[in-house]
């Protein structure tokens, strides 16, 4: 399409423009990665400097044979998939709802997207102490008021509760993006569909949903990046427990590195997390890219 003469210099210039960002990111990711790799083969415990030397594959062996490790992988998966399902599903429905005209819609929208602006630590503290606390929590009082025994959410259903808290933070983001997409849908298109006799469900299924697919990919993309490394919410509410019921990979590494100060073991965990991140990224990117190129 373009003349070759313009393409050629453009490539080299393109590289010059791209390189600062790439180089700096490369340094940022490679240097710590190499150090992490190095530590992962060493005995390195912050609180016990007497323990030193080459550890061989010990750190990996101890991590991979640790029964907590599989559980934490599973929990990571549950958390990512669960929150994505809630925010994409709920987000789509809410986007359609807040696209309808009703009294005070602008204010209602602002209220709905508010949790996205809140620090993860603060939202976890709020939910744990003010909302779900089995004695003082608002939800517990409501349950008592109607004659039910309050449920101790974080002890009985730790994973589901954390998922709920994280979804509360990220659902608004999905609503924000999807609402934007719904609004950009041509109203003439919708009108035409209605003229053709399409019902609300058919409109949703055949017009709105396909139109949203790109926005949904954006939501999935950005949220996955954050959900894979969810940490503050777990640390504040359950500290990964009871047992390891709510420990994800990020928290497992944290507990190795900073509760047990085993830098060697944590580094092995870090290396495994990097491998997983790249696998996820590869899948995600393929799916996302296909959708975005279209």
């Amino acid at each position: 399409m373009h003349a070759t003469t313009t393409v050629r210099p453009k490539r080299s210039a393109g590289f010059a423009l791209l390189s600062p960002a790439v180089l700096i990111l490369l340094v940022w990711s490679i240097v710590p990665l190499l150090l992490t790799l190095w530590y992962s083969f060493r005995n390195y415990n912050l609180v016990d400097p007497t323990l030193q030397g080459f550890a061989g594959i010990n750190n990996y062996w101890y991590l991979l044979t640790d029964p907590d490790f599989l559980q934490s992988l599973l929990n990571t998966l549950i958390l990512v998939v669960g929150v994505l399902a809630i925010s994409v599903g709920g987000g789509t429905l809410l986007a359609v709802l807040y696209d309808q005209d009703f009294f005070g819609r602008g204010i209602a929208r602002v209220l709905v997207i508010s949790p996205f602006f809140v620090m993860p630590t603060v939202s976890a503290l709020l939910w744990k102490n003010l909302m779900l606390h089995p004695i003082y929590g608002v939800y517990s009082s409501m349950m008592r008021a109607v004659g039910l025994t309050p449920i101790d959410w974080l002890q009985r259903f730790p994973m589901a509760t954390i998922m709920m808290i994280v979804a509360w933070e990220w659902l608004p983001f999905a609503v924000l993006i999807l609402l934007t997409a719904v609004q950009s849908l041509d109203s003439e298109q919708k009108e035409a569909a209605r003229m053709d006799g399409a019902g609300a469900i058919a409109q949703f299924r055949y017009i709105i949903l396909p139109h949203l697919s790109r926005a949904i990919t954006v939501v999935v993309m950005i949220e996955t990046i954050y959900l894979l490394t969810i940490f503050a919410e777990i640390s504040v509410t359950t500290a990964g427990g009871p047992g390891v019921a709510s420990t994800n990979l990020a928290f497992l590494i944290y507990s190795r590195a900073l509760l047990q100060f085993d830098v060697g073991g944590a580094s092995a965990g870090g290396v495994i997390a990097i491998v997983i991140a790249n696998i996820v990224a590869a899948f995600l990117v393929r799916a996302v890219a296909r959708n975005l190129e279209a």
């Binding site: 415990n45 912050l46 609180v47 016990d48 400097p49 323990l51 010990n58 101890y62 640790d66 029964p67 744990k128 606390h133 089995p134 004695i135 309050p150 101790d152 974080l154 002890q155 009985r156 509410t237 359950t238 500290a239 990964g240 427990g241 009871p242 047992g243 390891v244 019921a245 507990s255 900073l258 509760l259 047990q260 100060f261 085993d262 073991g265």
Partner: protein, 424 residues
């Protein structure tokens, strides 16, 4: 020129890392007095919650980053860190009156006769109970209760429909939270972490008996959400009238008897920590201390500050400004000799006795290679305590049985000890 040089020499800035506990917050408020009398020294405070603080200061000192000049650390860390040469030696002046510091506390902060930290406040353990609930149920607290008796009392005073729970205990996982309590509970039931040769003894009958007591007491008579209750959470529960009994640190006394912070201030009774089947064993002793990392560039000025903050004069200053009930407890004999303190704190002599007789190196049922009553004095204990603490917490929520939990704790402790080269 001369004054300029002098000023440049005298000016220094100390960064102090501390916990967000009540006594430290008072210290921070009153530190302006220190800055007034020491114009060359400026103080910068980093106040964090306990877990975060511990993580921050440990990373800092272990990597020699030198961000802090003064750290607030426990008597668990002091000897370990001193042996690793991470802490500066302290040489308080003669008028500091080192002999006034309770010997049990002092010993915990010395290695080979050299002191490495000064105690800010210290605690042992006791049983708090609600006198009104005991009276209503027609019960009396014996002078030296046993765990069996405590369990019986808890059953009788629990009234779940009014949200009164017979017994509150630490359930939040962590070596300094549930495991501090559980370790001392296990000791009195005749259990211990390790036998000689660092052989883990967690799947022993004594542990089983102790954990069974703990789990059934909390499940049947405890508050909901026990796995998220640490010291602070239980303090809030007791202070707002939701607990019938609570076995925990003596430092809670000053807060529970303070009508400004507690709705049950006039209904609190206290008794010694209960005894289990073994009865003897090491006794709980904890102190929060101020220490100077070896990496600090202001060692002299830092020592000036920590001797001030742990001095008799400081105790008097707190008494003047905040009242005697608020003074830092458990460190100085002179505090307990003060009639005003005895009057303001009805538990004073009780606590003094508890701390003076506390012996963290007391005998366990079988010989042991480590010291400490509510912890094991080795660097790996943070790792062990955190792991086992999670496993114990899982028994409270009913995910695993006590037997399963202890078996898995035994194997994870064995793994960690092997990994760190203690046993093969």
């Amino acid at each position: 020129m001369g004054t300029c040089l002098a000023a440049a020499h005298a000016e220094s800035e100390l960064t102090i890392a501390t916990v967000n506990n009540g006594d430290m917050i008072i210290m921070r408020q009153l530190s302006s007095e220190f800055e007034k009398t020491h114009p060359g020294i400026h103080l910068k405070w980093v106040t964090l919650e306990e877990n975060v603080l511990r993580q921050r200061v440990t990373t800092d000192i272990a990597t020699g980053a030198g961000q802090f000049d003064i750290m607030t650390i426990g008597n668990y860390e002091v000897p370990i860190w001193a042996k690793q040469k991470w802490l500066a030696e302290l040489h308080p002046a003669a008028d500091y009156d080192m002999q006034d510091i309770l010997p049990a506390v002092r010993q915990g902060l010395s290695v080979n006769g050299q002191i490495y930290a000064l105690p800010f406040y210290a605690e042992s353990v006791m049983t708090y109970y609600r006198t009104d609930l005991f009276k209503k149920a027609g019960l009396t607290m014996p002078e030296s209760p046993t765990y069996d008796e405590i369990r019986g009392f808890a059953d009788k005073i629990t009234d779940k429909s009014n949200q009164v729970y017979g017994i509150c205990l630490r359930g939040k996982p962590g070596w300094g939270e549930n495991m501090a309590y559980v370790t001392s509970l296990v000791n009195t039931f005749g259990g211990q972490w390790f036998g000689m040769g660092w052989k883990p003894l967690i799947d022993s009958p004594a542990w089983k008996a102790a954990i069974n007591w703990y789990v059934s007491a909390l499940r049947e008579d405890g508050p909901p959400g026990a796995t998220s209750n640490g010291f602070n959470e239980n303090l809030a529960l007791f202070a707002s009238g939701h607990c019938g009994m609570w076995i925990d640190s003596t430092v809670a006394g000053g807060l529970l008897f303070d009508p400004k912070q507690s709705q049950v201030a006039d209904k609190v009774g206290f008794a010694p920590s209960p005894k289990g089947a073994y009865g003897k064993g090491p006794t709980w002793l904890w102190s929060w201390n101020l220490a100077i990392p070896a990496s600090s560039k202001h060692t002299e000025d830092a020592q000036t500050f920590i001797t001030w903050a742990t001095s008799k004069e400081y105790v008097k200053l707190v008494a003047e400004r905040k009242g005697w009930v608020a003074v830092p407890a458990g460190t100085r004999a002179s505090t307990y000799k003060t009639p005003e303190y005895q009057k303001a704190a009805p538990f004073a002599s009780f606590v003094q006795h508890a701390i003076e007789t506390a012996d963290p190196n007391g005998q366990t049922a079988q010989p042991r290679p480590y010291g400490g009553a509510q912890f094991v004095g080795i660097p790996q204990f943070q790792a062990l305590g955190t792991q086992v603490g999670q496993t114990i917490a899982a028994t409270l929520s009913g995910q695993v049985t006590v037997d399963q939990a202890l078996a898995s704790a035994q194997s994870s402790v064995t793994r960690t000890m092997r990994q760190s080269g203690y046993s093969h």
